[in-house]
């Protein structure tokens, strides 16, 4: 146990004196990770109560999910809404971030705050507001309505990420291109955009997640054939514990993990 009496860092504290910290950190890591991961083996249980470890393994809940028209429709609605949200929110946010950064007018700061209000106003208030407005515009239970609402919810994150990317980018490079005769648009597309691409892609990814994960607004403005998967999951959870959700959760967790690992492997931040 000589390791315990060795200094843990330059400040003369020993590993022994810090042992409690290591134990606490391991417990917290377990608290963070295990509840999420334990759903995976449980989803293969045959029992209604999702035992762990499962006594009988089965794909029953996966059959339930893939065999149900309702779940499949809801999944497609969510995927489509998230993709459209990415397609709208990313360019809108990038344009706004670039415009506000370059114009550098006094109002830019005010506009920036206005554009991140969707993050500060309680979502429930946005939800009933949009529901009320859409009722007049007949946009409830429609894809365009859903995409518009999700775009606004995704805007702040997108804007913050792209603005951060622009701040760490050397704008002189674009000036050089323009002094050599490139138009503003050409200079942006050929010089600036490639260099802030990681921020833009992160922004797009965030937009996807915000839309795909959104429950509260969808609870009000989507329904019937336009119900999103998270809305259906929420309603199913509030009423009873439907084990089908374990299989859906497992699929979502695996997608998330894969995406995270991919970003760790390929991702290099351009914001420093």
């Amino acid at each position: 146990m000589s390791w315990l009496s060795k200094p843990a860092s330059d400040i003369q504290i020993t590993h022994g004196a810090r042992l409690w910290l290591y134990v606490v950190a391991v417990l917290i890591t377990m608290f963070l990770v295990i509840p999420t991961l334990i759903v995976i083996p449980m989803s293969f249980s045959d029992s209604q109560y999702l035992e762990f470890p499962p006594r009988i393994w089965s794909l029953r809940w996966y059959d339930n999910y893939f065999g149900s028209t309702e779940w499949m429709t809801a999944t497609w609605v969510s995927v489509k809404a998230a993709l459209f949200t990415v397609l709208v929110a990313t360019p809108v946010a990038t344009m706004a971030a670039y415009g506000l950064y370059v114009s550098n007018v006094r109002a830019a700061r005010f506009i920036f705050v206005l554009l991140i209000t969707p993050m500060m106003v309680p979502v429930i208030l946005i939800a009933i507001g949009v529901f009320f407005a859409y009722a007049k515009l007949k946009l409830n239970n429609t894809m365009p309505g859903l995409v518009l609402a999700h775009t606004v919810l995704a805007l702040p994150m997108c804007l913050i990420v792209v603005s951060a990317g622009l701040r760490s980018y050397d704008m002189n490079q674009e000036r050089v291109a323009r002094s050599l005769g490139a138009s503003r648009l050409k200079a942006f597309l050929l010089i600036t955009l490639p260099q802030i691409r990681f921020s833009v892609v992160s922004g797009a990814l965030l937009a996807f997640v915000v839309s795909f994960d959104e429950v509260i607004v969808a609870l009000f403005i989507s329904g019937g054939d336009m119900s999103t998967i998270t809305r259906s999951m929420f309603l199913a959870l509030r009423d009873q514990i439907d084990p089908t959700i374990a299989s859906i959760s497992t699929i979502l967790i695996l997608i998330t993990t894969a995406a995270l690992v991919l970003t760790q492997v390929f991702g290099k931040s351009d914001s420093g």
Partner: protein, 327 residues
């Protein structure tokens, strides 16, 4: 600044012949040197270009106005009418008079404070631990934070429901180990709500805390111990104060998010923990009562913005959260 360069070059090229007398009148008229000649033009050009650039943010502004500002403003307007359709503050005064509304606000406040407090107690040692690790290992620890962070909120809430339910894992193991005999009621009450909310909020606390702790140079700690401070004293007098900005930033974010929380208390609270946002949903869903629901929503928003504003004033949060231009 940004527009001057290329426009300036064009202008200089055009302007340079103006010194010669034989050239066109538009150049020859001004007695001033070439840069003075075009200064006004340049300034106007720059202003125009700035306006165009500013125009790029118009689609975003329109969207936020259409989806947030106008509908929320409309709700605010609705909240000023009572059930008979007359202009009044009934919806607001009712909140003060009625016991049930006061209780809902108290619940929301209590849950938010408790969640924030527990998050601090858990996140601080954990972030400290991560900040003392070599970067490579800390990245692995951060992965443990980011995995739940990116996992769907519903999936995590569901996971806790499964783990904490009557026949769930915790009860199963607790009874097998002889810690308790009857299944405990761990979910569909305040306990379940708190566990779920702490789990969901932890990343929001750990990430800013870790960020500010990483930025603290170990040299300060070395200096403190050189001067004879015990590790504990060096920690409390040097490290802890320097980590406070990250701690406060995390606390504000967690507290504000808790105030508006809906999904987790609705699922894990089992109807026993009624937060403001849940009451709003019920009012719309069951009674279609936009007036009262809007009033509740407006109060919730004002509280949220007040916390953010105070935090911004006291702590200069924008440095932590980023924003605007090179703040």
């Amino acid at each position: 600044m940004t527009t001057g360069q290329s426009a300036g070059q064009d202008a200089n090229l055009k302007a340079s012949p103006s010194t010669g007398p034989s050239h066109g009148p538009s150049y020859g008229l001004a007695p001033a040197p070439s840069h003075g000649l075009n200064a006004d033009e340049l300034r106007r050009d720059e202003a125009r270009e700035r306006l165009v650039m500013f125009g790029l943010s118009v689609p975003a502004i329109m969207l936020v106005l259409a989806i947030i500002v106008i509908p929320v403003g409309w709700l605010f307007w609705l909240s000023l009418f009572n059930d008979e359709g007359a202009l009044s503050l009934d919806n607001y005064t009712r909140m003060l008079d009625s016991k049930s509304y006061t209780r809902i606000f108290m619940t929301t406040f209590n849950v938010s404070v408790l969640t924030t407090g527990i998050c601090v107690l858990i996140a601080y040692p954990f972030s400290y631990f991560l900040s003392q690790l070599p970067k490579r290992w800390a990245a692995l620890g951060l992965f443990a934070v980011l995995l739940p962070f990116w996992t769907s909120l519903l999936v995590r809430t569901y996971a806790w429901l499964v783990v904490l339910q009557r026949k769930g894992l915790v009860n199963q193991w607790g009874i097998e180990l002889g810690l308790w005999e009857q299944p405990l009621k761990l979910v569909h009450n305040l306990n379940g709500t708190l566990v779920g909310m702490v789990h969901i909020m932890l990343p929001f606390m750990v990430l800013p805390l870790y960020g500010s702790m990483r930025a603290i140079s170990l040299d300060y700690m070395k200096a403190a111990s050189n001067l004879g401070a015990s590790p504990a004293r060096a920690f409390w007098t040097v490290f802890f104060p320097l980590s406070l900005p990250g701690l406060f930033a995390g606390m504000v974010v967690v507290f504000v998010l808790c105030l508006g929380f809906f999904v987790t208390p609705a699922v894990l609270g089992g109807g026993k923990v009624v937060m403001v946002s849940m009451k709003i949903e019920t009012l719309i869903d069951l009674f279609f009562n936009f007036g009262t629901a809007s009033a509740l929503g407006v109060v919730l928003m004002v509280l949220t913005l007040a916390v953010l504003f105070l935090a911004h004033r006291l702590l200069q949060l924008d440095r932590v959260l980023g924003g605007g231009r090179g703040a």
